[in-house]
Amino acid sequence: MDTETAADTDGILAEIEDIATLAVDAIRDAGDPDALEAAKAAVYGRKSRLTEIRRSIGSLPKAAKPAVGAALNKINERIDAAIADRAAVFAAAAEQRLLESEALDLTLPGRRRRMGHRHVITKVFQEIADVFVGMGYRIAEGPEVETAWYSFDALNIPPTHPARLGMDTIYVDHPAGTAAAATEGEVLLRPHTSPVQIRLMETEPPPLYYIVPGRVFRNDTVDATHASQFHQIEGLAIDRDLSFGDLAGTIERFCHEYFGPGFDIRLFPDFFPFTEPSAGLEVRWGESWLEIAGCGMVDPNVLEAVGLDPEQWQGFAWGFGVERIAMLRYGVPDIRWFTDNDVRFLERFT
């Protein structure tokens, strides 16, 4: 390269550098996207000095071309980077403005989908069932309208038994159609869930470990603690060598699981026609003991009524009043609340 050519080249390179410096300044000074576009056009536009220089590369001496080309590429990068930076600033500002315009008052209520509530009786049924399922039990149910055979006779309660006459059973006007129906006696609303024990033992060979939830009926005058229809949950276990100790242990474990570790139990002798020995069950509730269940070993007469040999099979049964447990556990003051279905009450339970 001759000296003259070298001097020209130096001049061009210097000019390119100046253009870049001016352009980057202009870009950085652009106050809004329009100004940025103008600055961009000023440096890259068809009539800009930079475009002119780019076009003139072809006419430069061969020796000058690489240096000028390299310089042009380098300042392009600088300018593009400056444009991108500036554009990013504008984009960020625009996004910021958009988001600000979209701000909502989050103290307004959410778009609600109402969830219904579990009736507390169902809740208690399911809670108790879940504990016993964990202890290896299954669940059985039976009809609310029953025969006297299943409700009484098979349960060791013959027609003249005081427990049968004193139970305030509600009878149903139902024409006994078949001979089979006639042998099962009068039709009634079951006064306890125990008929299901009989139906279970009739249909399924032991061993049996079942709980039985359900609605029962008594012809009782309704007040704060009495209802003509209420719910029981009872248990039945039949196996080769179940004992009274197993019964007490089972209910004790249940009370500790369901009510809590401090809720100990104690038993006292009681009477039910379908169990012997029979026991009443009290649970420790703070300072006092509250009676919550009846239980006992299944009476041999009951086993015989369903064709099980009492020398081969033995078992136990227990029954809770579900309303009683719900009243204790969830502080329900009046048994009528369970059937009033006051929405304010229903909403208290999940």
Partner: protein, 804 residues
Amino acid sequence: MKVPMSWLRELVAVPEDVDTVAAVLQDRGLLTEEVHRPAALDHVVVAQVKECRPIEGARSVQLVVVDDGETTDREVMCGAFNFGPGDKVPLALPGSRLPNGMEIAVRTVASLGVTSHGMLCAEDELGLGDDHSGILVLDAAARVGSPVSSVLGLDETVLELEITPNRPDCMSMLGVAREAGAAFGAEVALPPDDVVTSGAGAAEIASVVVEDPRRCPRYTALVVEGVEVAPSPPWLARRLLAAGVRPINNVVDVTNYVLLETGQPLHAFDLDRVGGARIVVRTAADGETVTTLDGQDRTCAATDLLICDADGPVALAGVMGGLDSEVSAGTTRILLESANFDSASVLLTSKRIGLRSEASARFERGVDPGGCVRAARRAARLLAELAGGEVRPGVIDVAAHEFDGRDLSLRPARVNSLLGTDLDAATMASLLSSIEITATVDDDVLHCHVPTFRVDVEREIDLVEEVARLHGYNAIERTLPASPDRVGGLDPTQAAERKLRTALRAAGLDEAQTTSFVSDALYESLGWAEQARVELVNPLREEDRYLRTSLVPTLLQAAAYNVARQVESVRLHELGSVAAPAAGDALPDQTWRVALVFCGSDLDNPVHTGRARPFDVFDTKGAVELVGAALGIDLAIVGLAPDGAVPPGMHPGRSGVVELDGARIGWLGELHPRTAAALDLPRAVAVAELDVAPLLRAHLDRDEQAGALSPFPATAYDLAFVVDEAVPAGAVVATLESEGAAVLREVRLFDVYRGEPVPPGRKSLAFELRFQAADRTLRDDDVRPVVDAMVAAAQRHHGATLRS
């Protein structure tokens, strides 16, 4: 059973502390109902009314002048008028404090110009009961000025026990004493029953014939002559009062006293009024009548047992004595009945005539047949002591057989197996001996002899219970069943039912539990009066006459209950059993249903979708569809059901049936405005009811598999049709779906439009159709012919024109 502690202590030594006694007895099965402590009735005395004077200017109170033993003319104001001069009444003196907290002071009512120096008390004010209907009039024999608490037997501690039906022996002081004695290791002191006799033998004076030995296994009688009927001595009267029995006269009181003491019901006949001095125990003829002590004519049934004299019935055996042979003031000769009657027979009679007495309450559970003579002699001794009676020698004793207890075998191994204990035979024998069951050990068996008073111990298992009871229920080690190979759980149907319940809650519906009973009135307001229902024989109330055939009526009642309490949005569901008559079957038809009701308005999103949106049938339809989706089953809601498919009382244009696989499983609809009004409900009420079993079955029958997920893009087409108003949108959807071929994935109806430019009587239905193939990206010429076919079918079947 009320047990005055002083009486119990006379029979057996028990600890001073009544709570200790109560706790020990509870462990043995005698549960304490209540401990009655001595009433705090200081300065409440017996006063005799001398005069009752009206007070000028006051109609609801009077001025009563009484003699209180110290002041003979004390003036008190009183608001009751149920007594008169001569009556003895409780007087609370100034300075006394009543059990209800009321403090009595001298009180002057200036406006009436009267001063009251104390207060006459009603039953409730003394803490005796609930009766506030008038002043408690005391026994005429009460001594003026004496403390009312002693006159009423309130000055001692009484343990009130709840006796289980299997322990009639403990419906007596002696029975309780035996249990307490066994528990505390104390001897029971039997009250003396030896009598001095004189004169002619009882058998020469009276005779007894038992014609029905099954219903009357034993009838014993004693004759006491020369009796003078008079009030009982205070100790006896007070003891009866403390035990809850009202004193009458010495003769009746003695029979009641011995009944309480021994548990043996006794009856004193006026022998002079027993025709022929002859007692015949026989079964009643149907329709025969007897006039009982309370003056009522009782008509008998052939199952009743009668005590008759030579002329006819004189008593209902074991239930109540007769009026004609009752002991009266002039009675001098007494035939004392101490008999044993069959428990079932007494129970049936007392139940049938609705009369329960101290005697029947004991007979119906079983009375010691071995105790008749002792009780009779005990009563005779007291009659001699308290009524000047002369006991005639000999006991008339007509017995079907000997009564010497029962022999039972008890296998110790059986006891330990049933109880989970490890007791040896000797321990068991010793436990049993504490309650007078003697047991001798012989190889692997205990030979036990049960005394007659334990009528409930009949089987080996009864002895097992006795051993458990005496060993102590709480002394038995608590274990868990050892059966490692069992698995608990909900069965598939029960698990599905929980899903159903969750879905109903997710649909916004609170769970209700309504009564199983319905009335005529409720069904009439729904227009359901014609519906066959299962009727109850003995409903307590008219509202409870029938079993529900549907959950909807009572659910609507629950809605009305809330509406009446200003609840504007009621959303309820219920799962429950309904019944329908099924003549010929053993039981009525019973099915498990689910019902739901939307009543009032949706108030959930006032800001977002409007303050209150009245509910309509689409709320129930949406809930039913949600249930279907939650269970993964396809529930079809068919509108405008044929007659009879939807029960009466519904809006005819807004109700329909719910189908599952073409079978009808329920219905839904809005209430007819008239029905809503009749039930005091707002206009916007929508209900639905479904059978549960088919829902759960269909859910369980599904084959739940992942299947394939197409990786290829879907394409969407929007189409709008104009059809006649009468064309159901669902029908157009069904047509489009059936023409959609394999590539149609979904037809979504997203708009229904009426108005310009759609001509009147027609509507525009806008659909989004989505297409997708499993094996390729669909091109326009894959989809176009399918869309054309769908459009053509809509035109062909529904006269639909494509809206441009």
